[in-house]
């Protein structure tokens, strides 16, 4: 170990005391509204930490998988060509029919049960906000900077999370619209899809809030309270809880 000299030690100890933010102390913690605004400006902050690493590893795996699949594909084509040539040399026979018969018949569409009509009674203001959709590439943003400043280095690494977030937003927006339209069952169906696809997604809190409101709308107070309790347990500081203060689950 390279020990520090007394002078270096004194230098570092002085730095330990003084080195930090310019005002010397932590400023006041940001308010909930400031945090919400920052999240709206930088939605990637809502992604689970580590998603980047897993994304990187997925990319690496994807490249490896792609190369392997390409190699296998080339080998398969070569093998099929050789076999076909050999067969055609011996006794040419049509094999297309047998291959076609392996394909499963298309599944018949399942008729959707009719939804009961329920009059809307949820106030529009009670519905949770959905993060804004991605802005146009060169349009001005809220802070005056061009949106391209927020573009990723290359398009490829950001496609997956942005698409996933887009899917999440679409499902939550759909549920919100269905709730506004007074069809809580349909809203719950959309939210159920979200829950199955994005159990711990970025918009989990929004989903649970809408679930509470939809269950209230349907008159299922016990279930609404159960979901609200879960939200309180998993996100005790969630700003959505305030919105539920006037719901049936309060």
């Amino acid at each position: 170990m390279s020990d520090l000299s007394p002078e270096e030690r004194a230098f570092i100890e002085a730095a330990r005391e003084d080195w930090g933010p310019s005002d010397g102390a932590a400023p006041s913690p940001p308010s909930a509204s400031a945090i919400e605004k920052r999240l709206a400006d930088k939605p990637w902050l809502a992604l689970p930490p580590g998603s980047l690493a897993s994304e990187e590893s997925r990319k690496g795996f994807g490249r490896l998988f792609g190369a392997t699949a390409s190699a296998i594909g080339i080998c398969a084509i070569a093998l099929v060509t050789v076999v076909t040539v050999q067969r055609s040399e011996r006794a040419p026979a049509p094999a297309v029919e047998s291959q076609l018969s392996l394909a499963a018949p298309p599944a018949a569409p399942v008729p959707e049960p009719p939804m009961p009509h329920v009059l809307p009674s949820v106030a529009v203001d009670a519905l949770p906000d959905v993060p804004p959709t991605v802005r146009p590439a060169d349009g001005p943003s809220r802070d005056g900077k061009k949106a391209r400043d927020r573009r990723p280095v290359s398009d490829a690494p950001e496609i997956a999370p942005r698409d996933l977030l887009g899917e999440e937003i679409a499902l939550i927006r759909a549920a919100q619209g269905e709730l506004r339209a007074g069809t809580p069952d349909r809203a719950l169906a959309s939210l159920s899809v979200h829950a199955s696809r994005f159990r711990d997604g970025v918009l989990r809190d929004e989903r649970m809030t809408l679930q509470v409101l939809a269950l209230c709308e349907r008159g299922d107070v016990d279930a609404a309270r159960a979901v609200k309790s879960e939200l309180e347990r998993s996100s005790p500081s969630s700003s959505h809880l305030q919105r539920l203060a006037s719901s049936c689950a309060r």
Partner: protein, 172 residues
């Protein structure tokens, strides 16, 4: 007793700030990045189970934010430098961080260090983290941590001497 967001913010704001500086973020963006880290903390604190130390957890979030920040920085036009502090040896009364010559020298030296060594140096010699904590953060063994610390101290010493004799010199 679970930690509150306000507690974590008050007690670890400086640790996060220093960690982000140790990653080489320039002063111009470090305050903003600190706020980004605490937005993540605000959302994720209920999930923090205390299986690792709070500083280990904050370091991981900081590293995640830095990775995104670097991607954004790479996509910016060339006239926006990633680090505007490097090579700036002139006294600047408006420099927010360097409040005196000693701190300015420290920042100059840190910015010239290799990132790997700088992180270990800041975490162990300034933040006084234990070797096993640092080993866990970087997923390396404790012997490697001590080896990096030794190299980091040697580099720090060389750079500090060169800064004292000639502020314009850079690490060979």
């Amino acid at each position: 007793m679970p930690l509150t967001f306000e507690q974590v913010y008050a007690e670890h704001y400086r640790f996060v700030w220093r960690t982000l500086k140790a990653f080489g973020l320039p002063s111009a963006v470090v305050e903003d990045a600190v706020q980004d880290v605490f937005v993540v903390v605000h959302r994720r604190l209920p999930d923090f189970e205390g299986r690792s130390s709070i500083r280990t957890w904050l370091f991981r979030i900081s590293r995640w934010v830095v990775t995104y920040e670097r991607r954004r920085a790479r996509s910016r036009p060339a006239h926006e430098p990633i680090d505007d502090d490097v090579g700036d040896a002139a006294p600047d009364p408006y420099e927010r961080v360097a409040r005196n010559e000693g701190l300015r020298a420290l920042e100059r030296v840190l910015l010239r260090m290799d990132e790997e060594k700088r992180l270990v140096f800041v975490l162990m010699d300034i933040e006084e983290m234990r070797a096993h904590e640092v080993a866990e953060l970087f997923e390396i063994n404790v012997n490697t941590v001590y080896s990096r610390l030794r190299l980091a101290r040697e580099q720090f010493r060389r750079l500090l001497e060169s800064t004292n004799t000639s502020p314009e010199r850079t690490e060979p």
